[in-house]
Symmetry: C2
Subunit: 194 residues, 2 copies
């Protein structure tokens, strides 16, 4: 998505070779109309899938997920992150390790909102090592629901989450894939014209 | 908002005389098109204000805030909740006590995204004791920005947050005000026709 790449080039702050800060349009401040364009871009990529539900992870996934849900006209469920979770048979849960924060969180969704009758699109803001995404995919599998794929706003292509998941035949559609970044330059993987 | 009151009557679960669970459309699963109607309702109430920015609190405030932002065409900033925050001169912060969780969280916004040139609309999902809202109002005051008011999806009118804030001349617009609730019945305060 060309407009997204431009926004990243103009506004993202590269804090280290692997850490990028996109607070100005994704992780802290959000431009709703740009977010709607992102929702439409995901819709265009996945519209041939019989999506019945979108799931995402709080908090930065919510804005792009809800906008995508507007185009699909399906419910959006945001998974909760908690330090630890006592076993609860009303929830599907997974543990997610964060390399940046060096902590493990439980993510969960109520069984009321995910079942084998669903065909799920996962939306998330960032893909790096893919830990959060793998947790969400495990939850979809556990529920028996079908998986349309994963729509990612920004993928750090030089980390292994995306390639790992694609190898296991998960459909990953990232609107921008950063192949390399330094304080001066951000390089994107080539993309289909959009 | 009549459609909201109906949704609350049909789907909300009253867990105790003061605790209501609205996971099916606000706090866990979200209907994007209904959320857009909520955004439009807030826009209708505040459209005469020169709003330049919307702020909300992660996570459940994000969906209604972003949809409201779509109508105003202004940025939406979601404040972060953290257990505690080391002093940071790049942030405006406030402490918020949660009566339900019996914990104090720091909420914060980067000074990059709020200034005296802003005229702020605060959007939040629920208003009970008003602790979170008071924290957000303190932050707006500290930044020197103007305050258009607060748009609340569901207010528990039998708790004192809303009346306290209205007494201090803060404009609070709640789309549904619950005056009383039991497991069997939810009663709303009278509202203007919408």
């Amino acid at each position: 998505m060309k407009a997204l790449e431009e926004k990243i080039r103009e506004e993202a702050v590269v804090l280290s070779p692997s850490v990028i800060k996109v607070d100005s349009f994704l992780n802290h401040s959000v431009d709703p109309s740009f977010m709607k364009d992102i929702g439409e871009a995901f819709y265009t990529k996945f519209k041939n899938e019989p999506v019945t539900k979108i799931i995402t992870l709080e908090s930065s996934g919510i804005a792009p997920a809800v906008m995508t849900g507007l185009f699909f006209d399906v419910p959006v469920v945001f998974l909760r992150k908690q330090k630890s979770l006592t076993l609860n048979d009303q929830l599907f849960t997974a543990d997610v390790y964060s390399y940046t924060k060096e902590t493990t969180n439980s993510i969960s969704i109520s069984k009321e909102y995910l079942s084998e009758n669903d065909h799920v699109l996962i939306i998330d803001d960032l893909l790096a090592n893919g830990q959060a995404l793998k947790g969400m995919i495990d939850i979809v599998r556990e529920s028996g629901a079908g998986l349309a794929g994963c729509g990612i706003v920004i993928e750090k292509g030089f980390q292994n989450g995306g390639s790992d998941l694609r190898k296991s035949n998960i459909r990953i559609e990232s609107l921008a894939i950063i192949s390399e970044m330094t304080e001066e330059t951000i390089t994107f993987s080539e993309r289909e014209e959009d």
